[in-house]
Symmetry: C2
Subunit: 251 residues, 2 copies
DNA sequence: ACCTGAACACCGTTCAAGT
DNA sequence: ACCTGAACACCGTTCAAGT
């Protein structure tokens, strides 16, 4: 706070990349993603806006750095402990906790799942190892991992948005439905009226269990007949659907 | 193009809400979401920027209107035709086609799935009707629908981003992996090296099939023993996992 | 009613200048 | 090297004025 101008002496630099990112994250967590402007961030640090550009090339880099910072906090489970379903569940919980700790960053978190930071590759290593221990062949491992990641991102999006918006805006389907006569959307009306008040699911586990059951069905299918040609989940479709039709519009 | 000033005569208004939204969508599809500024949009319409505010209250309303416009194009399948798995698949394909037709809008599409436009309630009506015809009780219908929607949004996000970014940026996990020695991420390296070049899944159907298998497992479970207490997917966990442990950290 | 134009309070970023 | 300050080219939006 003392010095006002000029180059600081060695050891007393006022800024660092890390410090900028930590402050940016605090700003985002506290006031939302739109509050994080370069000028506002600089003000928060008590510094000229342009000083930031000596540590990070642009705003996009700041947001990428913040996202990387958060991902580095991912508390991955120890590998290969317990049944593969529990490994996947533990992975999912770690990701969920990360998102719920920083709901205002959710859009950046989920859009960065495909990026290449080491923290992310480490996370994928854990997920793939869990699925590999289920006995799936490579192609199905990738399919199952994509399924898990896509689901987690979709769930995180919904949960993050619900947390970062004002509670009055976060209307569920049930609430929206009450603005219309019941005969307008008969199935929705029937289902939600037959649902207890506190019976709404909403958690991540419920969906994950269904999803694991689906993966397991394929795993058993593969184990039961390892000599099927070209393997693949097309077999699962036949098995699971009970009707072998492969839709022509697909793909 | 002829008149320059003042109030237009009746019947020759230069602007309409619909026209603004259509132009905004064209701009987004053609040049990306960040190209859609109020000033740019006005220029595209050959009009003063402030003219827009007589038809829409602010930029957020423009984006919401564009999103609603796109959702109104959702080509929902006819209800209750064929087995429920095909109904869900048809619903999923309709949503996928919508996203792939407007990849630059993907973030707004997936964040609006929870909003309350009539088009969206109609879509949910179809999805819930399909799941209801699977014989699931209300609570599991909601769980399964959430699962499907979350997965579709997660998939749409990944697919939309891949399409709207430059192809060189859209690196898959396999490409990123090659920057590291194989012993760094042994499972990932093993799996992707055992995967044929054109064997990468990536489509929406593969995951959906796994997911439907999981729902079906629960549906059979419910049908097979309808007298189980409080029903619910906890049963599916026991059945599917083959290990009755309910993780304490869950929830 | 509908469009205009100036103005306000913001942005991200470049560039030349300070120490 | 690191920070500053003015400047540029944008934003979204308000407000008073035109017809």
């Amino acid at each position: 706070m003392a010095r006002k101008l000029g180059r600081p002496r060695v050891g007393e630099e006022r800024l660092s990349r890390k410090q900028i990112l930590v402050t940016a994250l605090r700003l985002i967590d506290g006031e939302g993603i739109e509050a994080m402007s370069m000028r506002r961030l600089a003000a928060e640090l008590g510094v000229d806006p342009m000083a930031l550009y000596h540590h990070l090339p642009n705003k996009e880099a700041v947001l990428a750095g913040v996202t990387e910072l958060v991902f580095s906090e991912l508390r991955l489970p120890a590998q290969a402990e317990g049944p593969w379903q529990q490994q996947v569940s533990a992975f999912a919980r770690a990701y969920r906790d990360l998102v719920l700790a920083h709901p205002n960053l959710v859009l950046h978190l989920i859009t960065s799942m495909g990026a290449g930071s080491p923290a992310l590759l480490a996370a994928n290593e854990v997920l793939y190892a869990a699925l590999a221990s289920a006995g799936l062949p490579p192609r199905q491992i990738v399919q199952a991992a994509d399924l898990v990641v896509d689901y987690l991102n979709g769930w995180a999006l919904a949960a993050g948005l619900a947390r970062s918006k004002h509670p009055d805006e976060a209307q569920g389907l049930a609430a929206l439905l009450q603005q219309y006569p019941t005969e307008h959307y008969p199935t929705l009306s029937r289902i939600f009226s037959n649902l207890g008040e506190d019976e709404h699911p909403g958690g991540m586990e419920e969906g994950l269990v269904l999803l694991l059951a689906g993966i397991e069905a394929v795993a058993q299918d593969v184990a039961g007949s390892s000599a099927r040609q070209q393997g693949g989940i097309a077999n699962a479709e036949t098995t699971a659907h009970g009707c072998g039709r492969k839709d022509g519009q697909f793909g």
